[in-house]
């Protein structure tokens, strides 16, 4: 195996055989080492949350990855290539140039008996972001989210000063066997934390303000279309997790859905609905 070992000869057989062997070793070793180095680099670059979201997004069923414009019926068929981050999406950018989304007050804020006020933007992970006058952004869980979680058993909020980033973990909520990572709708620094009772969870000092900063969030007319879709998904989730399909009649979801489906695997349901 080495030139000074018994039986080693500088002949073709030895060179080819051992050459191949050593090459394989080198290739395998290099692969592993480079993976390690890159992982270390990512860690340094605080890429964790982004990468987690991306791999989660990849895991999602195709049906859950549809473009927001499919929800509204503007496109027939499109799977989101940007992991729901429309800020970098050229298609989306072009589209809204030609079809600017007007904020019409006549849109009702009540969808299926749930309040979805239009003063805020909605994230597809059922959080909302409301820009305040003082330039901060308030982050909370939308009505459907609230109803899914009902009264949470516990909430893990980030300490003020912590950074959160879009599609990364904003905070965690525990409900029954469910341990849900609530995705953040914005990038920024947490300056104040609320809680379940207070209608909002975080006040964030955003990195950027203005329309482009919230471009990836749903607003206005999209909300209703999206929610209808969400109700179907919820129904599927409930059915597949062993709950009786009582929503089938299009009825209004009760305040604490969790409570009314004690037999359902709530962890799975929430995972499905909060895009985890």
């Amino acid at each position: 195996m080495l030139p000074w070992n018994y039986g080693f000869e500088w002949n073709a057989a030895h060179i080819i055989f051992l050459g191949a062997f050593y090459t394989v070793l080198v290739v395998v070793a290099t692969t592993v080492v480079s993976a390690l180095i890159r992982a270390r680099r990512d860690l340094g670059a605080k890429e964790t949350e982004a990468i987690r979201w991306h791999s989660d997004f990849e895991e999602l069923p195709v049906s859950d990855r549809v473009c927001r414009h499919v929800l509204t019926g503007e496109f027939r068929e499109r799977t989101c290539p940007n992991a729901f981050d429309c800020r970098h999406c050229e298609t989306h950018g072009k589209w809204i140039e030609h079809h600017p989304m007007a904020q019409h007050p006549e849109f009702e804020e009540d969808v299926l008996g749930m309040a979805f006020p239009l003063d805020r933007f909605y994230h597809r992970g059922h959080t909302w972001a409301r820009p305040e006058e003082d330039g901060t952004v308030t982050v909370g869980i939308d009505e459907l989210g609230e109803r899914l979680l009902g009264v949470p058993d516990a909430v893990e909020l980030p300490a003020p000063g912590a950074r959160i980033q879009t599609n990364g973990t904003a905070f965690r909520v525990h409900k029954r066997d469910a341990d849900v990572r609530i995705l953040s709708p914005v990038d920024g620094e947490v300056i104040e934390t609320g809680g379940p009772g207070r209608g909002w969870y975080l006040r964030v000092k955003p990195d950027a303000t203005g329309e482009p900063a919230f471009r990836h969030l749903l607003r206005g007319a999209e909300v209703k279309a999206w929610l209808n879709r969400e109700m179907e998904r919820l129904q599927l989730a409930l059915v597949s997790e062993g709950a009786a399909p009582t929503l089938a009649d299009g009825g209004v979801p009760v305040d604490d859905i969790a409570a009314s489906y004690p037999e359902a695997d709530w962890d799975a349901v929430c995972g499905e609905m909060f895009l985890e």
Binding site: L2, W4, N5, Y6
Partner: protein
């Protein structure tokens, strides 16, 4: 600059990495292979000065000359001595492994000498009759027994019958053998193989033994019909009947007769050299010669006669001492037992309890080859008288008792020096010459001083009488062939011995011939023809019981279409006769 701990680690790390590109660590790994060589429990052969010593094998009467390769005093391998005129460098498997004998696991370890001696003298005090059974007569030790027994009031010397003649193979041209294992440890193997090229061998035998397989002609004669063939040769049976009884075509029988009478000198042999077939040698001028013995001192001549066990009156022996220290012809116990008086004292001298020890009251551990000093009588095929010693190669491994001392002590005789006295007597007679192997010289005895003669013998020399052929006076024994035995129904099978008499299983390595290769037939196995096996409902490799006149034996049966129907092939000579096999 100041060296920090960090510098130290860097230095060590660098050193370690650097070391990897030098051969040193890799060599180290290679050397660990040596560790796996020294596997625990593997003995290390002793090293030391290599010496060559000579002796004679006393495992059988062939007494082949041996060259022992020794480390210090310890023999590590044995080989034949080419310069020996009779054994010619040949050894049998038993001889080759003989130096393992002292370490045999089944060897006796206790020595109840005192008790045995006390019991014997007690039994003799009332004027009891004492007998010594000597399995190998003709030795100097045998003379000592006979002298002692002559001195004792009612001493009897028992020994297996010895043929009164020797066989001169060298001058035979045609040899007819009735099942004599001529090519398998018969006589002196070296001598036989040397002579083999000069004679035509016709083997008359029901099974194909080693000898039959290599014979020039194998007469596969019907079991038990040897006497018929002999009778025809003796001119007492018409050819047709001989053919009918033996199952051999008349043509071949006639050709046999022709060969014996025309292509002489002829020689007729059979397995135990006693049956009437030997008498045919007179008719065909067989090359038998008178047996010659080395001279003995005059003073020894008043010795007890050699008597046959059969001649001893029943229940007449109060003391029986059996000398089993050297393997010899085994007299079956059923022949001995009736001769013993009630509560007779039987003392066996043996190296293992598996012989007569099973029947004896006391079994004393005898020294054995290559521990014991003994002489070896001439083999059946040694024409000239010969005298050679089997000088010890190793010190006795464990307690040993000397049977000769035991017996002679009772008679108040001192035979401790008998071998030397014999040697001097030979020297006085002044005939023959001494062959020494170290220098492969042959010196006439008369040119030697008694001292040197004795010394030469002890260094593994061999005295041989100058070849003189004394033709056999065919007086003794009738030349009438015995009546042809009628098979009896109760014992349907003829028991045929297919193996040469095995020596003691002197070495565990002999398993190479039995367990590890099935080359030789073990004593515990019989071989049957498919017909007989089927008749007895015995499967190949199955257990069976062999019933003979000598008792019943539990054996393993093998089935071989090469064995003729009506025959059971065994490996123990004493079983020869008729018997039956039943499934166990």
């Amino acid at each position: 600059m100041t060296t920090t701990r960090r510098n130290l680690f860097q230095f060590l790390g660098g050193g370690a990495v650097g070391a990897l590109i030098t051969p040193a660590p890799w060599r180290l790994i290679t050397d660990t292979a040596i560790w796996s060589e020294n596997w625990p429990g593997i003995p290390k052969p002793a090293r030391g000065e290599i010496r060559t010593r000579f002796t004679h094998c006393s495992l059988c009467t062939a007494g082949c000359a041996m060259r022992a390769r020794c480390v210090g005093q310890q023999p590590v391998s044995l080989a034949g001595v080419k310069t020996h005129p009779v054994s010619r460098g040949a050894l049998c498997p038993w001889g080759i492994a003989a130096h393992h004998l002292p370490y045999h696991p089944r060897r006796l370890r206790q020595n109840p000498w005192q008790e045995a001696a006390a019991a014997v003298s007690a039994a003799l005090s009332g004027g009891g009759r004492m007998a010594v059974l000597d399995l190998r007569p003709g030795r100097t030790a045998s003379w000592s027994y006979r002298r002692a027994l002559a001195a004792l009031p009612k001493g009897v010397y028992l020994a297996p019958q010895q043929p009164g003649f020797a066989v001169d193979l060298a001058s035979a041209r045609t040899v007819l053998s009735f099942g004599a294992p001529l090519l398998d440890r018969w006589g002196t193997p070296g001598n036989v193989f040397a002579a083999r090229r000069n004679f035509r061998l016709i083997q008359a035998e029901p099974v194909e033994t080693r000898t039959a397989a290599l014979a020039d002609e194998w007469l596969a004669i019907r079991p038990g019909s040897e006497s018929a063939l002999a009778a025809w040769l003796a001119g007492e049976l018409p050819l047709l009947e001989a053919a009918a009884r033996t199952g051999i075509e008349e043509g071949r029988i006639a050709a046999l007769g022709k060969a014996l009478s025309e292509n002489g000198p002829a020689l007729i042999l059979d397995r135990d050299l006693t049956s009437s077939a030997m008498a045919l040698n007179k008719r065909f001028k067989g090359t038998l010669v008178a047996r010659r013995e080395a001279p003995v001192p005059e003073s020894w001549k008043k010795a007890a006669p050699v008597s046959d066990i059969a001649a001893v009156p029943d229940r007449s022996l109060n003391v029986l001492v059996i000398d089993e220290s050297v393997p010899g012809e085994y007299i079956p116990w059923p022949a001995i037992e009736p001769k013993l008086a009630g509560n007779a004292v039987v003392v066996a001298f043996a190296w293992t309890r598996e012989g007569y020890g099973r029947h004896a009251r006391y079994t004393l551990p005898a020294a054995l080859f290559p521990e014991a000093l003994d002489d070896i009588p001439g083999a059946i095929d040694s024409v000239a008288a010969t005298f050679r010693l089997s000088t010890p190669l190793v010190a006795a491994n464990g307690p040993v008792a000397d049977p000769v001392a035991f017996v002679t002590k009772l008679a108040g005789l001192d035979a401790g020096n008998a071998l030397r006295e014999r040697a001097d007597a030979i020297h006085k007679a002044g005939r023959g010459s001494l062959i020494t192997y170290a220098d492969s010289k042959s010196t006439a005895v008369k040119d030697l001083k008694a001292e040197d003669f004795w010394k030469g013998l002890n260094e593994g020399g061999c005295w041989m009488e100058d070849a003189v052929r004394t033709p056999l006076p065919y007086g003794r024994g009738s030349d009438k062939s015995s009546p042809i035995a009628e098979p009896d129904a109760s014992m349907p099978l003829e028991i045929v011995v297919a193996e040469s008499p095995v020596g003691p299983l002197c070495s565990p390595l002999l398993s190479k011939l039995y367990r590890e290769s099935n080359l030789r037939q073990p004593v515990s196995r019989i071989v049957l023809s498919p017909f007989d096996a089927q008749a007895a409902h015995i499967k190949d490799g199955g257990a069976a019981v062999l019933e003979t006149g000598r008792g019943r034996f539990a054996v393993l049966a093998a089935v071989d279409p090469g064995v003729p129907p009506g025959v059971v092939q065994v490996a123990i000579p004493i079983l020869a006769g008729r018997g039956k096999v039943v499934a166990a």
